[in-house]
């Protein structure tokens, strides 16, 4: 199917809204009205794969088919941009490395346990980046280090677990971290010592109760994920992050994202190259709500 001149079913406004609402309810992602054309183009391949001829049939499939849930995941997969790369937004990673990790080292010395969560990890580059940063500091040798990555797409999780990447994943690669990769015929693979620290799971961020499998974490990276969510879903996810973070734990959002209008539960921490959020360490000692 040619890219420039492709033809296929046209989505009607009602179909768009029905599909948009269904997807929003499923995973929190919200498509504004001006995304209709993009949604149409991206979902056409799903219609074609399922042998469906219009978007109403696809809506019915997502509502009634026994495999509707799996298809919803596929729809979300094609509708979202999953492309990421190692050391993305490195100014933030520098702040994490130079200022947050030393603090965490001090604060968690007694337990010698460090847990990080990359929420919406896509193909896994961020999870492995965090693992490389932790190892490279040398601060946590002998500690129990765990980095958890989740995504709603099983396809991207498959790629993450394979840990083998093409050139596009290395567009912002830093030379001193090259040693954490090994060359394979399929591409460059993350070194087993780094992979051993990383764990992946299939998790819908809206499913707050299931997020308990992540356990309590010291920092969460959720960058360029919440921008796709509507306000209500964003609040739900942020509540989950609050629950999962230990008191004093850090939340890293994308450079254009903030908690303004979404939550007052986190305090702002000024680092030398970035502003990050932190679950307050102090307080009444019992939960008073996150908003």
């Amino acid at each position: 199917m040619p890219l420039l001149f492709e033809a296929g079913p046209k989505i009607q406004v009602e179909e768009f809204r029905l599909l948009r609402d269904l997807i929003n309810k499923f995973c929190g992602i919200y498509f504004a009205d001006d995304s209709m054309f993009i949604v149409e183009r991206r979902l056409r391949e799903r219609l074609s794969s399922l042998g469906l001829t219009d978007f109403t049939q696809y809506y019915h499939h997502l509502r009634y088919h026994p495999e509707a849930r799996a298809e919803l995941e596929r729809a979300v997969d094609v509708l979202t941009t999953n492309e990421t790369y190692f050391f993305r937004e490195d100014y933030q990673l520098r702040a994490f490395c130079d200022e947050v990790l030393p603090r965490l080292k001090q604060e968690r010395e007694a337990s010698k346990r460090l847990a990080l969560w990359s929420a919406g990890c896509s193909t896994g580059e961020e999870v492995y980046t965090l693992a490389m940063l932790v190892v490279h500091t040398g601060l946590f040798d002998g500690w129990d280090v765990r980095i958890f990555g989740n995504d709603i797409s099983r396809r991207v999780l498959g790629t993450a677990r394979r840990a083998t990447y093409g050139a596009s994943s290395f567009r912002a690669m830093l030379p001193e971290y090259q040693r954490y990769f090994v060359d394979t015929p399929q591409g460059r693979q993350v070194h087993p010592s780094i992979r051993a620290l990383c764990h992946f799971g299939h998790l819908n961020l809206l499913d707050g109760s299931r997020a308990a499998i992540v356990g309590r974490v010291d920092a969460i990276f959720c960058r360029n994920v919440l921008i796709y969510f509507d306000l209500e879903s964003r609040r739900r996810v942020i509540d989950t992050f609050y629950e999962r973070l230990v008191p004093g734990g850090y939340l890293f959002l994308g450079h254009s994202e903030s908690l303004l209008n979404a939550s007052t539960a986190f305090e702002l921490v000024h680092l030398s190259t970035d502003l990050v959020y932190r679950r307050p360490a102090a307080g009444l000692g019992k939960r008073g709500g996150t908003r």
Binding site: M1, R41, T264
Partner: protein, 684 residues
């Protein structure tokens, strides 16, 4: 928390303690909440203030907080308190309007602008007359605040007042009015805008308004603005140019001509916006650079293509560029990453294919690039090449494509299969040789089954029959689909067997295929098997069988289908309803009334459609029930169907609903229906 504890917590030095105390405040039995809420609204910590706003909004009506909030915006000591109170009053909307209007007359001059701002935040049209009056006052600050407030309320009275302000002698008022009209999306005629353009500051603010005029003079002014030093202005001008091009081909010609004459410096400034612009800006910039035939547009275009976000005019601009653009795209793709690289390659292939007479060099260059890309280790590049091969493959590529189906991912294999199917038209022998003896398993099986079916003959039937026994259900599904396209009796029997497959997915596909299947006399086959499938344990199979029976037109299906409408799973009920409509069941009416009350929206929609097709004296009344349904999309369907029927009863129902309808799509559907009704009656 007891009142005393709460009071103490609200004064605690720790901001987190105070924030939680504010949350408690909303739940507490404290008699006087005004003082603590106002104190919290003026807290030094933003998190406490933000929480206090939420609490103030929750308690305002019950605790009579609005006067205290109005007083808070009029005080001049605590800016945090004022801003929080403004936010709360805005969220309270109409509840704030009257107290604010009352306070406006008696307020100190320095407080009046905050009251005007708060009136704007209420978005209450009742505030418009007072705001319009304030735009005419002597105090520029107050007039500007009123203009800004009008922009937040909108409406025809506000817009008229704002256009009047364009003639004002005050530069701040004019600038504020332009900005307000931009925000409201107002179309201001060129004649009203052109006098403002002599002032450089006003011109910069007015760029979006120029983009709405559809006038070539405005297009020229917008291209001139691309030379402005501010990156923001360049981005705004680019967006306005995108807008004006959409509305006027004459403007597009003017812009194309002017863009080809722009300086390298101006284009470089546009290229910078590809780095930092949002999606609409990048689309607009790419479009302009394409018109300038600047090859840097192609990288940006490839990035946008990878996100399925082509600028609207991109294809025309590429076409106008000619053969040269193909080589440029091929060259550009080598420097890109991921799906953008694939998109550049695919665009090169598409453009060369669309060219009326591409040169031999271009053709060879495209084929060479595609063949190399088929062997690329990155899936996105393989996919792009495989998709383009549907236009460019030659006989010698058949084996290469078949080989890729066997090592590529599902999506790549599918694209190869499609390319091979199309290649069959030009080089059937080459394709037949390439697929001969290939095992139909996994991704290759899914991709090649339809190709094998097109090759035809006893060997093909044998291969597809073997594929029906493949371990992978996806291959078996593909084999069933392929057999349906073979179309002979033996194929039909094989598909009937597939109705007993252990996978419900394969059974569903088989049912669908049988619904379409006709023997050499055009008669449906397999209806007995489909009737049995209606009793399947799987709703998906039941639904597929129901639809297939509807297509087959077998009257024996009516009774079991009616039962499924009543008792089936919602998805099955929808399918059964569709089938009954296709079968023109004359006794459907009684089932439909019952189905109108079904808990599932889609069942209700189907029943409305079926009611429309019945010849019942109470059709309008029954359809009107749908206008009151809780789901907006059910109301849309009901409105359309009533519009189709027309007549006084339908019109009355539509008009009554329009009075109270809140959903924009439903309102639009009702208006269209009323127009259609008018046409039916010859009123138009």
């Amino acid at each position: 928390m007891m009142p005393a504890e709460l009071d103490q917590a609200l004064r605690d030095p720790d901001a987190e303690v105070r924030r939680r105390a504010v949350i408690e405040l909303a739940r507490s039995a404290t008699a006087d909440v005004t003082t603590p809420v106002v104190t919290a609204l003026g807290d030094e910590d933003w998190r406490v203030r933000k929480e206090a706003v939420r609490v103030a909004v929750t308690l305002a009506e019950r605790a009579g907080l609005v006067p205290a909030l109005v007083a808070a915006i009029c005080q001049g000591n605590n800016v945090g308190l004022r801003n929080s109170a403004l936010e709360a009053l805005g969220e309270l909307g109409r509840l704030s309007t009257e107290p604010l209007l009352e306070a406006l007359d008696s307020a100190r001059p320095e407080a009046r602008k905050f009251i005007l701002a708060a009136l704007g935040d209420t978005r209450d049209p009742r505030a418009v007359p007072a705001l319009v009056a304030s735009t005419r006052g002597d105090d520029a600050n107050e007039a500007t605040a009123a203009i800004d407030a009008l922009a937040r309320i909108g409406g025809s009275d506000a817009e008229a007042a704002l256009r009047e302000c364009l003639k004002s002698s005050g530069p701040f008022q004019r600038m504020g009015a332009i900005d307000a009209l931009v925000r409201l999306g107002t179309v201001v005629p060129w004649d009203e805008l052109s006098p403002l353009l002599a002032d450089r500051l006003l011109r910069r603010v007015a760029l979006p308004l120029l983009g709405r005029t559809g006038r070539p003079e405005a297009a020229t002014a917008l291209v001139d603005a691309l030379a402005e030093p501010s990156a923001h202005v360049v981005a705004v001008a680019a967006l306005a140019l995108a807008k004006i091009q959409e509305s006027s081909p004459a403007c597009r010609d003017v812009i194309a001509q002017r863009m080809r004459a722009t300086s390298p410096h101006e284009r470089a400034r546009l290229v910078e916006r590809l780095e930092d612009g949002d999606l609409p800006t990048r689309q607009a910039v790419v479009d302009l650079l394409l018109l300038a035939r600047d090859s840097r547009a192609l990288e940006g275009l490839a990035e946008l293509a990878a996100q399925n976000a082509f600028p609207p005019g991109a294809v025309d601009a590429l076409r106008a560029w000619g053969d040269e653009v193909v080589e440029s795209l091929i060259s550009v793709h080598l420097g890109l990453h991921g799906s953008a690289r694939g998109a550049a390659l695919e665009m090169a292939a598409d453009m060369a294919a669309a060219a009326p007479n591409p040169s031999r060099a271009v053709v060879e260059s495209v084929r060479a690039a595609l063949r190399t890309a088929l062997d690329d280790p990155e899936t996105s590049i393989q996919l792009a090449a495989a998709r383009s091969m549907s236009l460019w493959a030659e006989g010698e590529d058949a084996k290469r494509l078949v080989a890729l189906t066997q090592r590529g991912e599902l999506e790549v294999a599918a694209a190869c299969g499609e390319a091979l199917s199309l290649l069959m038209v030009r080089h059937p022998e080459a394709v037949a040789r390439a697929v001969d003896g290939v095992a139909l398993e996994g991704a290759a099986g899914v991709a090649l089954a339809p190709v094998v079916a097109r090759v035809g003959g006893p060997k093909a039937l044998e291969a597809l029959q073997t594929a029906l026994s493949a371990g992978d259900p996806e291959t078996r599904k593909a084999a069933v689909e392929a057999l349906a396209s073979v179309g002979d009796r033996a194929a039909a029997e094989l598909i009937e067997f597939a109705l007993a497959d252990e996978s419900f997915g394969v059974q569903s596909v088989a049912a669908r295929a049988l619904g379409r299947f006709r023997d050499s006399q055009g008669r449906p086959v397999g209806t007995d098997a489909l009737l049995l499938a209606l009793a399947s344990d799987s709703p998906a199979v039941q639904a597929a069988a129901a639809r297939a029976l509807g297509e087959a037109g077998d009257g024996r299906a009516v009774e079991p289908l009616r039962e499924l409408v009543r008792a089936g799973d919602p998805g099955v009920a929808v399918a059964a309803m569709e089938a009954l409509r296709a079968l023109h069941d004359p006794t459907l009416a009684d089932v439909l009334v019952e189905a109108l009350g079904h808990a599932d929206d889609e069942v209700v929609k189907q029943s409305l459609r079926a009611i429309r097709e019945t010849d019942h004296p109470r059709t309008e009344a029954r359809l009107s029930v749908g206008l009151e349904h809780a789901a907006w999309h059910v109301r849309v369907v009901a409105a359309r169907l009533l519009g189709e029927i027309g007549g006084e009863a339908a019109r009355a129902a539509l008009e009554a609903r329009l009075e109270v309808e809140k959903d924009d799509l439903v309102s639009a559907a009702i208006r269209e229906a009323l127009d259609a009704d008018a046409l039916v009656r010859g009123d138009a």
